[in-house]
Subunit: 309 residues, 2 copies
């Protein structure tokens, strides 16, 4: 078990949820912590450093993806049969929207999180061992998938979970095709290099609301307009099995989905073991362990063939 | 003034809002009423007949579009200053969402509706003189533009306005770029050849709700899934000034818009003068004149140069 290492910052460089107006400050942390050779080429590292994301059409064989898909189907079906603490359901239909913490209790997901094709890239970017800060499977249903407003994950992880610095990233594995119709992830490239200080207080137990629809920790329209005017929007479209890595501070969101095509993804959030959670900067109680892991297990890369599991 | 000509149909072929399940029946009306030469080539007519829509990148010069845009800006600004019977505003922000009936009281919009580049195509498709059944300017704001669920306009016009047969079409003129981010119009090609009988009653004064969000007269998910499985989805993307014509019974909808880019369009709905409104088939009172014109003025094609207006 890694011990928490307080960073002894006298002034929090990423304070947010202020009483004044939303505004932009500079990111004080690097994006790439280790420019050593690894899985990513210098060009790929440079693209990630500049844009804050990187997409791979296929890191896994189609045979492996079939195996993973069928496993997730089983998980979903099992989760539908019981009231799980780790699941978020649609308020009206009771349809499953997210299944959290799967890396912790499911052996295939645990292996997937440690797969060297993914974890190798993660370690290269954060320059240390990693642990899972949060894992989830998202099921954005067809016909009634809601939009998710622009936000930086780091702003929430900092304020509500106590993640001190920007040394974390998300990895999303597509379980369905992401196309222009089913509300794909939209990112503002290069937005990870600025930090948007948001206005407003954090309500108690905000996560119960914010996992469905986020109202706290969202930038104001003028700032978003400027960011998008400067950098544009990229939507992450791709077929089943495409893998997207994106920086913890990249501004992103998604539109609604009235198409019949669901949009499902496996999400792993990796944090550096040298960036352990402190007390939440918003001053409230920490979120539950299945939303933000406070007792982490450092991960070790493994060579895995999912056809054999 | 054209007199109403009852169609003496013993059995309504397009009855909807039934107590049983939503289901599909055949369209009994043609799509193209006059295959004579005209503005549209045989290929264009055939495309429209098969798919139910047709897009033109530019029917107007960029100079004309500039003129039209600046006029719409003025209209919007004037409408913002007063409480108009013809405007629909967002419930919370009071932001203008739609401005109805503009062809009736605004001379430029009146001219635009009669422009031979548009009306010529309309007349070729419906095979008669046309009148405006409904006109509006839609302002889908950036950041908070809501989605609009799948529906056939004709189903509503039939049940709530008493439009007897399918001999009408919409013409949409883009006032902003329509792109993958700002919730463009999505259509199911060829869906206009089937009629989806919808389940459920019509609430009184349904239009007050349905202009914001439609709950009545929407097909069920199984039917939509089949339609989209068979025909796919096409989204109508294009730059300012692109013009889309689509059949009154084409299934369409749009996703939400969290991008900063507004999506604004001028909409003209043209109906044939040989397809005059009857009493609403849902048995309730007719909707107001600014939503569904009952005292029409047949239009006469004009050659117009909007630089001179």
């Amino acid at each position: 078990m890694i011990q928490s290492q307080p960073l002894h910052v006298d002034v929090d460089p990423y304070h947010s949820r202020v009483t004044g107006a939303s505004h932009i400050v500079e990111r004080v942390d690097p994006v790439i912590y280790k420019n050593n050779p690894g899985i990513l080429s210098p060009e790929q590292l440079s693209f990630y450093e500049k844009n804050g994301y990187l997409v791979f059409n296929s890191l896994f064989s189609s045979q492996e993806m079939k195996h993973i898909l069928s496993h997730v189907d089983e998980l979903k079906s099992d989760a539908g049969k019981q009231e799980l603490a780790y699941s978020v359901v649609e308020p009206h239909s009771r349809e499953l929207r997210s299944l959290f913490h799967t890396h912790d209790y499911d052996s295939l997901l645990k292996s997937l999180a440690c797969d060297q094709r993914i974890l190798g890239i993660v370690e290269q970017i954060i320059g240390s061992q990693a642990y899972i800060h949060q894992s989830r499977i998202n099921f954005k249903p067809g016909f009634k998938g809601r939009d998710f407003y622009w936000h930086s994950d780091f702003e929430t992880w900092h304020m509500e979970d106590g993640m001190p610095r920007m040394r974390a990233l998300s990895c999303s594995i597509a379980l369905t095709e992401n196309n222009e119709f089913n509300g794909p992830l939209m990112v503002i490239p290069a937005s990870h290099k600025k930090y948007v200080v948001c206005a407003g207080d954090t309500p108690r137990d905000n996560y119960k609301q914010s996992l469905r629809q986020q109202y706290t920790g969202v930038p104001d329209e003028a700032i978003l307009t400027n960011l998008i005017h400067e950098h544009g929007i990229i939507s992450s479209k791709g077929s089943i099995g495409s893998v997207t890595f994106f920086d913890c501070n990249l501004m992103h969101g998604s539109n609604s989905n009235i198409s019949p095509f669901p949009r499902s993804n496996i999400f792993f959030v990796y944090n550096s073991v040298e960036n352990m959670l402190q007390k939440p900067y918003c001053g409230l109680e920490a979120r539950p362990e299945y939303i933000a892991v406070r007792k982490p297990v450092p991960l070790t890369k493994r060579k895995i063939n999912f056809n054999d599991i």
